[in-house]
């Protein structure tokens, strides 16, 4: 694995029954970069995401995540197929956090509780020390609450701390979901269409916050997004998918001028379509 990369996807193929959702997808995510995954609807972006974050086991291919602090790289598929204890939660523990296209908050819990659930693995889960209110437990809880408020401040949600997550306006729910992902202490955060449904002002604000996350909090960002101005504005590296395959990859300028990308987005001439 190249030490400059945080994530290396090699020859990823995903089949559902007879349908091939992704075919032979390979790309890298560099440490500390903002990388975007774009493509027309149905290109297989979310399927790639679900493989990366461990919700699907890829039919073929490997996904390697660089090891933390000099440890050996981890293979995401291997985490899923571990006997008995395997599962997508291990991927999150390895340092990949995500948000969802259709927001998945704990709607009937308060905003702070949402963030505390995300820190489950950092808190004192011992039932006994909790029941007796030991100092160790109280300290862990206090730290958790502090961390939750820290991320609320970063995402400008502090005044909503004690509201139900489900009753927040849409744009704030999107931000809360990002804050919740950050609370797990990830190295790579995967955002699935974070700007969907936001108005232009909210979009600009979001772009700023994503850059802030990377610059100030040193997290690598991988995002799926349809809004080209947002993608071109903030990402250093863009991977374009169409019909489940990578058709182009490079910096925004390269991608913008790639004939394959223009064809995919604007449609080909009739004779080219026939040839394909």
């Amino acid at each position: 694995m190249d030490p400059r990369n945080l994530l290396e996807v090699r020859n990823l193929t995903m089949r559902f029954g007879g349908i091939v959702a992704n075919n032979d997808v390979s790309f890298d995510v560099a440490q500390g970069s903002i990388t975007a995954l774009i493509g027309p609807n149905g290109a297989g972006k979310t399927t790639v995401f679900n493989c990366l974050t461990g919700f699907y086991r890829a039919s073929e291919g490997t996904i390697h995540l660089a090891g933390d602090q000099g440890c050996a790289p981890l293979e995401v598929g291997g985490l899923l197929s571990k006997p008995l204890i395997g599962g997508s939660y291990l991927v999150a523990r390895a340092g990949i956090a995500r948000t969802f296209q259709n927001i998945r908050l704990f709607r009937e819990m308060s905003v702070v509780e949402n963030l505390l659930v995300a820190q489950h693995n950092h808190l004192d889960r011992n039932l006994l020390s909790g029941a007796l209110g030991l100092r160790r437990y109280r300290q862990a809880e206090r730290d958790g609450i502090e961390r939750a408020f820290h991320w609320l401040r970063v995402m400008d949600l502090e005044e909503d701390a004690n509201r139900l997550a489900g009753e927040l306006p849409y744009g704030r729910q999107r931000r809360l979901e990002i804050a919740r992902a950050m609370c797990t202490g990830p190295r790579l955060v995967c955002l699935d269409e974070p700007a969907a449904g936001l108005n232009p002002r909210e979009k600009a604000d979001l772009a700023e916050r994503i850059q802030h996350l990377r610059n100030e909090h040193r997290v690598t960002v991988l995002l799926i997004e349809h809004d080209m101005s947002l993608v071109m504005g903030i990402s250093e590296h863009i991977v374009v998918l169409d019909h489940g395959e990578v058709i182009a990859a490079g910096d925004p300028q390269e991608v913008k001028n790639s004939p394959a990308v223009i064809t995919a987005y604007l449609g080909a001439d009739d004779d080219e379509e026939g040839a394909a």
Partner: protein, 305 residues
């Protein structure tokens, strides 16, 4: 090994399995279309057993002598009334809960199950009920001491079950109604956009399931002749096991699962122990869920993230 015992248990298992298969259809179709376990289904089957006995008693009170005529009329009546039960249950207890919490329809179904059991208990009394044996006669193979026999009722059960199954398969595969059912099962939202009245289709599925359970109820009553208000409980769990074994959501799977479970259970009670046959059937459910949750003919479920 005693071959005649083996043969006899296979015959019994086939009969029992056909019944499980018929009831399993109700579970599997409902699960396929709205993804819920209809806990009240076993009790719908119990209702049909009572309806059979009531209908036969009424017919004999009116002086109907012909046994085949009485059975055909009873089967028709039972299927109709049980079908209305299926429809009403869906309308009253499940339809208002679409879009509610995940647990709501399950708890509602348990409530209906309790209601039906207690309603029958209060209305008909808690005692064991029965009907006289209407069809005699056996086919027998072997000598006087060691033989394998199949009663005419058992034969009727197997033939009627396969007939019902064939009819249902035709309905689902070849008719417009069946196409609508399959479309709704695949994607309810899309089917609705295409102009299918999915509420009506879901109701239809409940009616079909109930009618199949009614056939089972009538046949079982003719065979064993005895039942009480609690028979739906254990039979329901076993029929559900059959549906899971065959692959929940799959019609041929329900029948296959039913017959396999019937055979397993008969062989177990013939060669191992009768007292623990229910324990055995239940262990089959757990083992299938652990090792092959999609069943024999079902497709693995893809999680929607």
């Amino acid at each position: 090994m005693d071959w005649h015992i083996l043969g006899q248990q296979l015959v019994n298992g086939l009969t029992l399995g056909s019944i499980y298969g018929l009831i399993a259809i109700g579970y599997t179709m409902v699960y396929g279309i709205i993804g819920m376990i209809n806990f009240a289904h076993g009790d719908v089957y119990m209702i049909s057993a009572y309806l059979t006995a009531i209908s036969l008693a009424v017919l004999s009170a009116f002086g109907v002598e012909s046994v085949p005529f009485a059975i055909v009329v009873t089967l028709g009546l039972t299927m109709f009334i049980t079908g209305v039960y299926g429809w009403s249950i869906e309308r009253v207890a499940y339809r208002p809960l679409r879009g509610s919490t995940r647990l709501a329809p399950l708890i509602s179904a348990i409530g209906i199950s309790l209601l039906l059991q207690n309603y029958v208990q209060v209305a008909q009394g808690a005692r064991n009920q029965g009907i006289p044996s209407l069809i005699d006669g056996v086919f027998r193979v072997g000598n006087d001491k060691d033989f394998v026999q199949m009663t005419h009722v058992q034969l009727l059960i197997v033939i009627a079950s396969f007939g019902a199954m064939a009819g249902l398969t035709w309905l689902i595969q070849r008719t417009s109604l069946g196409r609508q059912c399959r479309a709704t099962q695949q994607d309810r939202h899309m089917a609705e956009i295409l102009g299918i009245n999915t509420d009506r289709i879901i109701s239809t599925v409940f009616v079909i399931g109930a009618a199949m359970a009614a056939i089972a109820g009538t046949l079982v009553t003719l065979n064993y002749g005895s039942f009480d208000f609690f028979v739906g409980f254990v039979t329901g769990i076993k029929a559900f096991t059959a549906a899971v074994l065959g692959g929940i959501g799959s019609l041929p799977g329900a029948m296959l699962g039913g017959i396999l479970l019937g055979l397993f259970e008969s062989l177990f009670s013939g060669f191992v122990n009768t007292d623990y046959k229910d324990v055995f059937s239940f262990s089959v459910l757990v083992l299938v869920l652990i090792f092959r949750p999609s069943g024999l003919l079902g497709r693995p479920e893809v999680e929607k993230v």
